[in-house]
Amino acid sequence: MPAQQQNQKSPPAKCTACRQPMSSPLFCDNCHCLHPADGSSHFELLSLTPTFDLDLALLRHQYLQVSRGIHPDYHGSGAEGDMSVHLSAQLNEAHRVLADPVLRAEYLLELHGGPAATGDKSVLAGVLTDTLELRERIADAKAGADPAALQECHAQIERRHATALAQIATLARQLPGADELRARLRATLNSMKYYQKLRAEL
């Protein structure tokens, strides 16, 4: 599968216990022992190349494959069991983030040095006014029991959401890029939050 070659990283190191090559950094295929992965990126946990254009079928395949290798059902209790639970939680989080295009772009931006959402709250020009106007129109439509107006608001939010998602993808593909690119991606991701909230509420 060409996509597999494109997205999959080269095989990791050998098992420290049995010296056999490992297909995942988290467990040994040969002796089944677990390996700590603190400090590994979400992509590394899944042996994937860090890129926005992930092959989602491959992501799913890797997730299932690694899950099986580290699953608490196969690693008993005690220290090994604790590690298995810990690694599984890390893996689940990695899969949750990478499977979602907005979270994936957010994560890639973080890997490439930000700016972080906590420090940079800028949005694209006009987004706040636009959000406020949409919310006012929704409130009016609900108060006036006007399903057609509400439907129109819904359609507009979907369009805004789709546009923001396309912009995020375009920018995330160009990472790491220059400071301006990353700042623009930050602002677009911040803007997206407003449309996601609107979408969730309607």
Partner: protein
Amino acid sequence: MAYNDKILDHYNNPRNVGTLDRNSERVGTGIVGAPECGDVMKLQIMIDDHENIVDAKFKTFGCGSAIASSSLATEWIKGRTLDEALEIKNTDIVRELALPPVKIHCSVLAEDAIKAAITDLKAKRAARPTGAVAATAAK
């Protein structure tokens, strides 16, 4: 967790909800948002000839703490001069409403909204020749 009575009061009976004419030269409009929660807040002020804030309105689409913070902010800025209004700090709002740590950003939003409204008003007036406000008022 139980909310403080003052938050509940402002949330259930928000003061000064509404809109002022944003095209008026006496009106400043501040629109701010918190991307982490998707809340948006609009705060407007209206001044007289002596830069006293004679009216304030807000519209907030967000959580109860954001609504209470902006409601309180409009109450506090009415009757103040622009400079006095700028003295209001988010920590004052936190104290008054006893906001929990996770809701401090709501008070920051309210402080930012006051500042944004004043900035908007000053920019609007700076763009006009002196006396334009008085002339409009005399019409």
